[in-house]
Amino acid sequence: MPDDLINSFMNGPDENGRFGIFGGRFVSETLMPLILQLEAEYERAKTDETFWAQMDDLWKNYVGRPSPLYFAERLTEELGGAKIYMKRDELNHTGAHKINNVLGQILLAMRMGKSRIIAETGAGQHGVATATVCARFGLKCVVYMGAHDVERQAPNVFRMRLLGAEVIPVTSGRGTLKDAMNDALRDWVTNVRDTFYCIGTVAGPHPYPAMVRDFQSIIGKETRWQLEEHEGKGRLPDTIIAAIGGGSNAMGLFFPFLDDASVRIIGVEAGGKGVDDRMEHCASLTGGRPGVLHGNRTYLLQDEDGQILEGYSISAGLDYPGIGPEHAWLHEIGRAEYVSITDAEALAAFQTCCRLEGIIPALEPSHALAHVIKIAPTLPADHIIVMNMCGRGDKDIFTVAKHLGFDMKI
């Protein structure tokens, strides 16, 4: 049906890796041949049944997929409006959605004959997932992590080391996630022949945004059939909501629903201390403008001279001044809405979730949950919301304890 194809939101990116004006391949020449090789290898793998059979086996037996789609009954009752479901990707092995993508990239790396894997990490979830899969396949793993994040996410640093990864604290720039990504790129340029860069989000040069999205789309695909099991054949969610740093868990939930016009799609950015000109937030779409960084054109937090600004969020996983290019495009064409939630709102949602559902969420999905809490009471009882519970909160209890004034003497 050519009309449907023309009108589809699911055809991107184009052959130049663009979603509208966003995306692309803004990398140095040293990396360009490898990026083209990766694209070719991914195109081959995409249609290779043995690749997907291997993925399915690992997803099922190693990660524990499918993750449940859980009806949050008490939260729904408490809010007295829409019916709320949680996609429980925090129950995955390693405690977050990150491993969905890492598995795919590591299998690709092995197909390409690469023996050394590098990754950047913010909260440490992507680093842990990468270290885990590298241990599983006996690959050398090096993780770049901002010195500031090494400090605030100590348990994940230890996990990565237990798993055999080398964790390199990044002090260049300001020692944050974006600097970790810069240093990972510098490593890659230096060791391009034996090294594969396993990017943790739907950003970076083409084909990463599309490839990571495709691997994460398992989240939305499962959600489709699981909601039918709960609610009857053909029933789609009315609203789907996910938190966004780079945007991989959100893209994974959103992508399979892009062409379902009745499904309202909401991405939640980290509003930090408030989205205003103090720029103490990570809301790239709400508070940034288009620019080029880390291999792609997207919305960025930047000053008037095009210098990149540091984001700020209570959540290390959202603390990135950019956003995946496909989100930038969905924002511009209006297919998805993007809102922001402050630290304080996320903290409140974190506690509500613990108390009502017996689930300790990560601070990242607490942002999504905070928006659910905002809108659910205004919606009718037959309105179905699915939010992505993309990570568990064990890693965040120290941060939360500090904000709640609880002294954790251990």
Binding site: G24, F26, E29, N191, G291, G306
Partner: protein
């Protein structure tokens, strides 16, 4: 014909190799940086490469990263970098100036506005690290239309199949990155570089200049003996970072230039 083309015509006529010196605009501050830049031609520099500071220089090693940070902390902006060239041109209308950096500050200013300002300031060429041939429509083609050279990097990973694509819209000269790595890293060996330079020269009439990792007059001489010239950045920028005076910096530059010109 840009000043770069004229310079290479002159070098060829004199049978000399070219020496390119890189400094970061505004490092450690505008006035000191301008003083150093003004002194470069007198120290034997054939082409000046002026870095445009950026917060996220992905292809640069620690030395140039820190230089960019110093410049930004000192208040350097793209406008001030353009102003610096305008100021330089008042006393020197022949030494070519190439601006090197990353795309975002240019994109942020607006490509058309940037190109008009760059031409007006007296800039001759651009090296933009994160714009491979795949993104030529962004800046490369408009820049050449505006009369600027667009100098491309070729690297050890640029194989024979890809080389024509890299050379296609390149002008001025080809910048051969002698190692897989970042600026200021391991030193290249002339014996390793020679076959790659020969391979590129077989595919283009443009001069091939070699950079990355060259830090001594001896290394400059050795590399220049197998290429049309060489580019030194980190070794100069490091001195500025150590707080050396413009005179001290220029004395070292003169030594490097002499090394290159001995070849």
């Amino acid at each position: 014909m840009t000043r770069i083309d004229q310079k290479f015509a002159q070098l060829r006529a004199e049978g000399r190799k070219g020496f390119v010196a890189y400094v970061m605009a505004g490092d450690p501050d505008y006035a000191t940086s301008l003083e150093i830049v003004k002194g470069l031609p007198g120290a034997g520099v054939d082409i000046i490469e002026l870095g445009m500071p950026f917060t996220d220089p992905m292809a640069d090693g620690p030395t140039i990263q820190l230089a960019g940070q110093r410049a930004l902390e000192g208040g350097q902006t793209l406008q001030k970098t353009l102003d610096m060239v305008t100021e330089f041109r008042k006393g020197d209308d022949t030494t070519p100036i190439v601006m090197m950096g990353y795309y975002n500050p240019i994109y942020s200013r607006g490509v058309d506005r940037f190109l008009a300002d760059a031409v007006a300031a007296g800039i001759d060429g651009l090296i933009v690290v994160d714009l491979p041939p795949e993104e030529d429509s962004e800046l490369c083609i408009p820049a050449q239309a505006a009369g600027l050279n667009f100098i491309r990097l070729a690297t050890p990973t640029t194989d024979d199949a890809r080389l024509p694509k890299v050379l296609q819209n390149t002008s001025g000269f080809v910048y051969y990155v002698s190692i897989t790595g970042i600026t200021g890293a391991a030193a290249p060996q002339a014996v390793d570089v020679a076959p790659d330079v020969a391979r590129i020269k077989a595919a283009t009439d443009l001069p091939v200049m070699v950079g990355f990792g060259i830090s001594t007059p001896e290394a400059a001489e050795a590399i220049c003996s197998v290429a049309d010239g060489c580019i030194v950045g980190s070794a100069i920028v490091k001195l500025i970072g150590e707080g050396k005076s413009p005179a001290e910096v220029l004395a070292v530059v003169a030594g490097l230039a002499a090394g290159a010109h001995r070849a």
